[in-house]
Amino acid sequence: MRKQFIIGVVAAALAAASLVATSSVSTAAGTDFSKCQNLKACGGMDALVKAAQKEGKLNVITLPRDWANYGEAMDLFSKAFGIKITDDNPDGSSAYEIQTVKTAPASKVPDAVDVGITYGLDNTNLFTPYKVANWADITSDYKDPAGRWYGDYAGVMALSYDTSIPKAPKAFSDLKDPAYKNMLAIGGDPSGAQEALMSVFAATVASGGTADSVQPGIDWFKSLKTSGNFVTALANGQNFLAGAYKVSFSWSFNGPGAVTTAAKAGKTVKYIIPTDAVIKGTPYVMAIPFNAPHPAAARLWTEFLYSQNNGKTSMTVGSTKGMTGSKIFSSIMGGQNIWILGGALPITFDAMVAKKTNVTAPEGYGIPKGVKVITPTVAQQDAAKTLLKAQWPAIAGN
C-alpha cells in the first residue's frame, strides 16, 4: 500500500518534471537553427551559444592547423565554448570539400566550408543563407547578396627563405642572381595550384608586366630554370629539410606556422613581402551547407570567425564555466584578428583599420608602403591558366 503510494508520488513528480522540461525545450525549439539567417533571427548570442553547446560538436574540413592560424582558432573556439571540433582531411582540397557536402553520410557533412572563390560561386545551391553580425564590413565584391557565401581572408605572395643562405632576397627580381643557384622552388603546378599560380603573377609584375598576361612571368621562370636557379622540387617541409631548395614562394598566411615548424626541425626560416610586387589573392570564401548536422554550432563558428574582437587567446582563456554565451564571445579574440596574427588579410581588414580594432600583424608581414597591391581577377586567372597549361612543361624542356 505504502509502496504503491510512493511509486505514485514519484511517477506524478516525474510526469510534472517532464512536462516542465518539454515546455522549456519547446520554447527554445521555437528557433529553427538550421534556417535562421542572422544573429537576431537565431535569438541572440546567448541562445545561439546555448544551442551550439547542446549540439556539442562541430565538423570542419580541410583546415590545416598552420594555415592562416586555424589551429589557434579551433583551439580557442573549442576551449571557450566546450565544443568538440573534428577536422576532416586537413590537407584536402576545395573540390574535396564540395564533394563531401554533396555525398558524405549525414553525420560527416561539414558544418562550414572554406573554399577557393570559384568553388563558392559554382555551388551556391548547396549553401544556406546566413549573414554575420558585421555583414556590412565585408566588401560587396566578395559576398553573395543573399548571404549564401562570403569572403573570409586573403593572403599576399611572400618569399620564404632559409636564413643560412649567404644573400637574403628582398625582391623577386633578386632571385635572378647566380647566388641563388639551385635554390628557388614553388608549392605546386601553377596551372592547378592556387599558390603556385599567384607566384607566376608575382613574377609577371616583378618583370614589369600586368596581370592581364602572365607571359612575362612564364618567361621569368623559364630563364631561371635555364640558369639553374629554379628547382622543380615540390616546396614542402621534408624537401626543404633535405636542402632541395632554400627559397620559395608562399602565401603570407602560411608563414608563422611554417617558421615554427621549421624551427622544430632545426631550420630558421624568414618570411618577407617583396618590394617589387604585392600580389594579393582573391579571398577564400566561407559558407554553411544547408544540410549541416550542427546548425547552431555552424553559425556560432561563423560569427566567431568574423568577430573583430581583441581578446583572450587559447593560452589565456581559462575557464568559461557559468559565463553567458555573449560574455564568452566578447571576451575571446575574434577570428578576424586571429587571421591577422596568422599573416593573413581578413576580409573586414579595411573596416577594422578604420575602427582601429585590428591587432598588429607579426613583423615582416606588413605590406610594404607605396607598392601597388594587385589582385588578379577571376578572368585574369583563367587567362593565366590557359597560357600555363600550354607552356609550363616546356620551361623544363619537356
Partner: protein, 270 residues
C-alpha cells in the same frame, strides 16, 4: 666438373651486380631518410626522440590497430575471392581470361581519385557508414597484384594433371583446392597476401576521400607540424611492415613440408 667451375665467376658477377644495384636504388635512399629520423630536438644531435614522439601520440595504437585489422581482412578476402576464381579460370574457363585479366588491371589504370568519387556516387548510405567498406576497396585495388601473383604461380604447375589426379583419387573440389593446389602455388598465394596486406596498411587516397581515419591518414594529420616526426613515421612504417610480413612468412614456413612433386624453388634449374 669443368662446366660447374665455369659457373663460379659468372655467379659472383651476377650476385655482385645485383647487390650493387640494390644498395644504390634501395639502401641509400632508405638510409638517407633514416638519418633524418634520428635527429634530436630542433634538429641537433642524434636521438630516438622522433620515434618516441610517434608512439606517444594519442591515436597511435587505435589507428594502427584499425589499419592492421582492415589490412588483414583485405588480405584474407583477396585470397578467398581470387584463389578459387583463378583456379577455375585456368582450368575450365580460359576463354574468360582476357576479360578477367583486364578487369583486374582496371583498378591500376583508373586513377584512385576517380574511383573514389565514382564510389561515393554509387554506393548506398549503409555501406558508406561502415569503415569495413574500405576492405572491399582494398581488395579491388589489390586485384592487379593478386591476379598476377596467383596467375604466375598457376602457370608453373600442371594444374589439369593435379586436379585430375586428385579428383580421380576421390577428393572433393574443396579438398583438391586446399590440399593439392594451394601448397603447389604457395609462393603465389603468399605474394598475393603480402601485397594485399601491404597495400591495405598503407592506403591513403581512398581512405581519406571516403572520410575514414586509418593509420596513414592519422599520421599525415598528426605530423602536420612535425617534419622530423613525419619522416620517422615513414621509416617506421617501412621497417614495421617488413618486420611484420617477415614474421608471418617465417612462422608459416615452420609447419609445411615440401614434397618433391609440389616443391618449387628448392632444387632449381642450372
Amino acid at each position: 666438373m669443368a662446366a660447374i667451375m665455369k659457373i663460379s665467376p659468372f655467379k659472383w658477377i651476377l650476385i655482385g651486380a645485383s647487390a650493387f644495384l640494390s644498395i644504390l636504388i634501395f639502401i641509400f635512399p632508405l638510409f638517407a631518410a633514416a638519418t633524418y629520423s634520428f635527429r634530436g630536438e630542433a634538429g641537433k644531435g642524434r636521438s630516438l626522440a622522433n620515434y618516441r614522439w610517434l608512439l606517444e601520440q594519442e591515436g597511435f595504437y587505435p589507428n594502427l590497430f584499425t589499419s592492421l585489422k582492415l589490412a588483414v581482412l583485405a588480405g584474407i578476402l583477396s585470397l578467398i575471392l581470387m584463389v578459387p576464381t583463378m583456379v577455375f579460370l585456368n582450368l575450365k574457363a580460359q576463354r574468360f581470361k582476357p576479360l578477367i585479366d583486364f578487369l583486374c588491371i582496371l583498378p591500376l589504370i583508373i586513377p584512385v581519385v576517380s574511383l573514389a568519387i565514382g564510389a561515393q556516387v554509387a554506393m548506398p548510405e549503409f555501406v558508406q557508414n561502415s569503415e569495413y567498406e574500405l576492405v572491399f576497396f582494398f581488395v579491388i585495388i589489390a586485384l592487379p597484384y593478386t591476379y598476377r601473383a596467383i596467375d604466375t604461380s598457376l602457370q608453373t604447375v600442371q594444374l589439369k594433371t593435379l586436379v585430375e589426379a586428385s579428383r580421380s583419387l576421390g577428393a572433393s573440389w574443396l579438398a583438391t583446392i586446399l590440399r593439392v593446389i594451394v601448397p603447389a602455388i604457395r609462393s603465389g598465394i603468399l605474394g598475393a597476401l603480402f601485397l594485399s596486406f601491404a597495400l591495405g596498411i598503407g592506403e591513403y587516397t581512398i581512405t581519406s576521400l571516403l572520410h575514414w581515419e586509418t593509420f596513414p591518414t592519422w599520421t599525415v594529420v598528426a605530423a602536420q607540424q612535425n617534419i622530423l616526426g613525419a619522416i620517422a613515421i615513414s621509416v617506421f612504417s617501412f621497417i614495421g611492415a617488413i618486420a611484420l610480413l617477415t614474421a608471418v612468412s617465417l612462422l608459416s614456413r615452420r609447419g609445411t613440408k615440401q614434397t618433391s612433386i609440389t616443391s618449387e624453388g628448392e632444387g632449381v634449374l642450372l
